[in-house]
Symmetry: C2
Subunit: 194 residues, 2 copies
DNA sequence: TTGAGAACTGACCGAACGGTCAGGAGGATA
DNA sequence: TATCCTCCTGACCGTTCGGTCAGTTCTCAA
């Protein structure tokens, strides 16, 4: 009934194998031939189903992107204080859930503006930082950006760490950065420092 | 007098141009031809002076690596409390000073174990995390790793941020993560949660 | 002046990449 | 059976890359 189920089956296989390879070796280091071999088809078939390598990446990333969008929409409808906490736990959960993909995103971030498929994701990233910060104070926005970088960095190399452990570490770290008293107006030098 | 000054002059020119290009476009995206053109020589000359592209990167990174080693040696001889603060400010200062290089390091980190020239640097990274943590508590070591990732991430894309601003942000964030009370033994759920 | 060695180069190579294209295989339809 | 369309493929293309090599130019001491 879905028009051509065989088409979807092949597409899905390519997406799954591409996801695994991207997570394992990175985006640049994975060639279309690698994906095709893993998926049990020819490189031309990959290009038949996806309009170029970036399109493969976009398809692989799409579920994660949709989840981010949903999280943002959900958190936006909460009151500010709750929204921040929801954003923190939601973001970390999401990072753990798509941990294999995060290293890839990390790698591709610098070249993302060049790829039209990623426009919405960049915008969502900004919204997420806004929610994590909990306010529009530039200082808190900066800290939120720092926190996101820290979380992303935590997934850069394929750790052997368990999901739960990783989640706890990230939540703890992000809360330390973003909750509690506001950072000093100028550079803050905690008591007793050189 | 230094045996062959002309050799050193060319080497230095290549190193400087390579550093600028790496900082601007990244390591992978910079070809040997790019470096040669910028340095006003041929690609073969670059290969004559450096034993392959990774060797160029190693030479470019070497000053920063030496500074890290010096910082570690210095901090190691302080008392623990002072050592941590010295490590924090020293690390951030160093990150700002070599900001152009950090994005490159960030990019190359996953493939670093494959390049023999980088063995000592990886070891220094571990020592630095140990100093930043201020103790051997695994939880604090994890937070220190998170902090390093955050700082590195802050330099991933070429911000327009001023050095001072960046330094203040990083020091604030790292202190928030690593100083103050020890993180709870299990996952801490601040008051009022779903 | 001259010769030896250092410094440098153009031409070339093999490999890998993303992408294109004409056409084959195979099932549904008429 | 004949036709059509979807799915798929091998062969090929142009480009870029890191790296090699034989040979030329330059430097400098004897």
């Amino acid at each position: 009934m879905t028009a051509t189920p065989v088409r979807e089956r092949t597409r899905r296989e390519i997406e799954q194998q591409a996801m695994a390879l991207f997570a394992e070796k990175g985006y640049q280091a994975t060639s279309l031939q690698d994906i095709a071999t893993a998926a049990g088809c020819s490189k031309a078939t990959v290009l038949y189903h996806f309009n170029g390598k970036p399109a493969v990446l976009a398809a692989v990333v799409e579920p994660a992107a949709a989840t981010v969008t949903a999280l943002i929409e959900e958190a936006t409808q909460l009151r500010p204080a709750e929204a921040q906490d929801r954003a923190i736990t939601g973001f970390v959960d999401l990072a753990v859930r798509f941990r294999g993909l995060l290293a890839v995103l990390n790698e591709v971030v610098p070249t993302m503006p060049e790829i039209p498929e990623f426009g919405p994701m960049v915008a969502d990233g900004q919204k997420l930082i806004r929610l994590l910060a909990g306010s529009d104070d530039p200082r808190r926005l900066d800290l939120a950006g720092f926190a996101v970088n820290g979380v992303l960095g935590e997934f850069r190399s394929p750790h052997q760490r368990a999901d739960d452990e990783l989640r706890e570490l990230c939540v703890t770290a992000v809360r330390r950065l973003l909750t509690g008293p506001s950072p000093g107006p100028t550079h803050a030098s905690p008591p007793g420092q050189s």
